[in-house]
Amino acid sequence: MEKKYTMVEIWGDVIRIKDLIVSVAISSIFTMAAYFLAPSNNRVRELFYGLLGAVLGFIVTNVLIKPKRVIVFEENLKGNKG
């Protein structure tokens, strides 16, 4: 149970393992599903459909998952320079 909320740092940024699994699953399913929908004798079409699926998957995961970053805006109090 507790593993669900484990956060780790990979590729220089923080992720939640559960969200990563969801994201990889959604992206892969969208990509491969789109690929298999393409006419099977046309390589370029297959590739194109697959990519479209990947983009759709990316959009879906973007909506579902929130970034694990705290953004702080630092007002510029230090000396400015022209």
């Binding site: 780790v8 220089g12 994201s23 705290v70 702080v72 630092e74």
Partner: protein, 452 residues
């Protein structure tokens, strides 16, 4: 050359600019792994070779500039190439000079592109007569290249040790596919193997999560804290002659010029070496950091552009780290390009010049303006809206797709195997360059091995 083709080239360049502006702003994305799969897709999509080249040039010019933004602005390197700037950007950020640093970096980048393209084209022209001779020895050259890249890297003996085992791994998989009839004998699976190498370090990191002990060391207690500095007034001019001081401008010119000649060396290594060397004379710490940022901005563009332009035009085989890594799809992407028939063979000299200039000018004009004006807005948007999980998911699904297309389900696991092996070697300290060269040299190495 008709209007439609030119329109396609312009659209390809614009597409590359939009795509790689966003990718560039995302911290931590490795250049090879973001450039190679997408370029490969563009090649395989059947677009005209000249359009492909325009796309690639626009992509690297854009990425090299935008990758430096997160580095300078929030202190997270946008990619491998911008890591040499880290120390100086953090220092300037501390002094509240981020806005100025971005302008200096962008102006340096502008100079790097403008200087290196004509120099690289000229150098390619001079080397071209020797290209034919080198091509005849291509298989041996790749082997020598693997040894050479091992020797100039950090872990020389380790890298040398890894060349033959890696070649055996690649050839073993190919023979397995031929033997089981998954692919015909004359098909050399290359592209998905490439992706396996590229994605290796990520695969190893992801698999380490399944080990309890290593999971503990990777755990993060809290969200990533990102500080976006305030917008100090750095003047509104876009004129690089006003942004850079005379000495900074001269040093950026010099660095970008020199960087073209050792095009077979690692671009990031050159950026560190020349960047530190040229800016080290400055005594004042702030001045030194500003100079270093401008010079490195120039070097990043120059090393990348010469690393792709010279091998493409003069040699026809990928004998530099840039051409064998991020640009490999321009040399070898069966069935469209092969080592014997790639961009080098199908494009005329003037087409090279035209595509390179068009791609670079469009990318530079837009990206230079955008980084100067909207660096804050785009950074904030990307950091707030794009989760890291989605990006990793996108990459994994792209590899999945391209592996499956190459040789079916067995190759998905074949590529996973390559990812595990190469990622482990990568973490031990064997560079991408050595691994890519080994992949190219594999048929020759194995052929020679079995004759003893």
């Amino acid at each position: 050359m008709d209007g439609l083709l030119i329109l396609k080239m312009v659209l390809a360049a614009l597409g590359a600019v939009v795509l790689y502006t966003f990718i560039g702003f995302i911290p931590g994305t490795d250049e090879t792994s973001v450039l190679m799969p997408i370029t490969l897709t563009v090649v395989l999509s059947g677009l005209e070779p000249i359009v492909v080249l325009t796309f690639f040039i626009a992509a690297i010019v854009t990425l090299n500039l935008t990758n430096a933004i997160p580095t300078v602005l929030v202190g997270l390197p946008g990619g491998v190439m911008s890591s040499p700037m880290m120390e100086y950007s953090l220092f300037l950020k501390d002094k509240g000079l981020s806005a100025l640093a971005i302008k200096k970096m962008a102006a340096g980048s502008l100079i790097g592109t403008v200087v290196s393209i004509p120099v690289a084209l000229l150098l390619a022209h001079i080397l071209a007569p020797y290209g034919k001779n080198i091509q005849a020895f291509a298989p041996v050259m790749f082997f020598i290249g693997a040894i050479f890249l091992s020797l100039i890297g950090k872990n020389k003996i380790l890298s040398l040790f890894s060349i033959i085992p890696l070649s055996i791994l690649f050839m073993a998989l190919r023979h397995l596919y031929w033997g089981t009839g998954v692919v015909p004998r004359d098909t050399n699976i290359t592209t998905s193997f490439f992706l396996g190498i590229t994605i290796g370090p990520l695969i190893v990191s992801l698999l380490s999560l399944l080990n309890r002990k290593s999971l503990e060391t990777m755990k993060a207690e809290s969200y990533k804290r990102v500080v976006i500095p305030g917008r100090s007034i750095a003047g509104s001019t876009l004129n690089p002659f006003k942004i850079l001081k005379k000495s900074e401008m001269g040093k950026s010119f010099l660095a970008a010029f020199i960087a073209n000649f050792p095009f077979v060396l690692s671009p990031v290594g050159l950026t560190v070496l020349l960047g530190e060397g040229i800016s080290s004379r400055e005594k004042d710490a702030v001045k030194k950091a500003e100079t270093a940022i401008a010079v490195m901005g120039a070097l990043i563009q120059a090393t990348y552009l010469s690393g792709i332009i010279i091998p493409l035009i003069a040699l026809g085989i990928p004998l530099s780290p840039v051409s064998i890594g991020p640009g490999s799809a321009l040399f070898n992407a069966p069935p469209v390009f092969t080592v014997d028939k790639n961009l080098h063979h199908v494009l005329e000299s003037w087409q090279f010049v035209f595509a390179i200039l068009l791609g670079a000018i469009i990318a530079l004009a837009i990206t230079y303006y955008v980084t100067n004006r909207f660096a804050w807005e785009i950074s904030t948007f990307v950091l707030k809206k794009i989760p890291h999980e989605s990006i990793i998911g996108l990459f994994i699904s792209l590899i999945l797709l391209l592996s499956y297309m190459d040789a079916g389900l067995i190759n998905v696991f074949g590529v996973l195997l390559i990812g595990i092996a190469c990622g482990t070697l990568n973490k031990l300290g064997v560079s991408y360059g050595v691994q890519f060269m080994s992949l190219y040299a594999a048929p020759w190495i194995v052929e020679k091995l079995i004759s003893f």
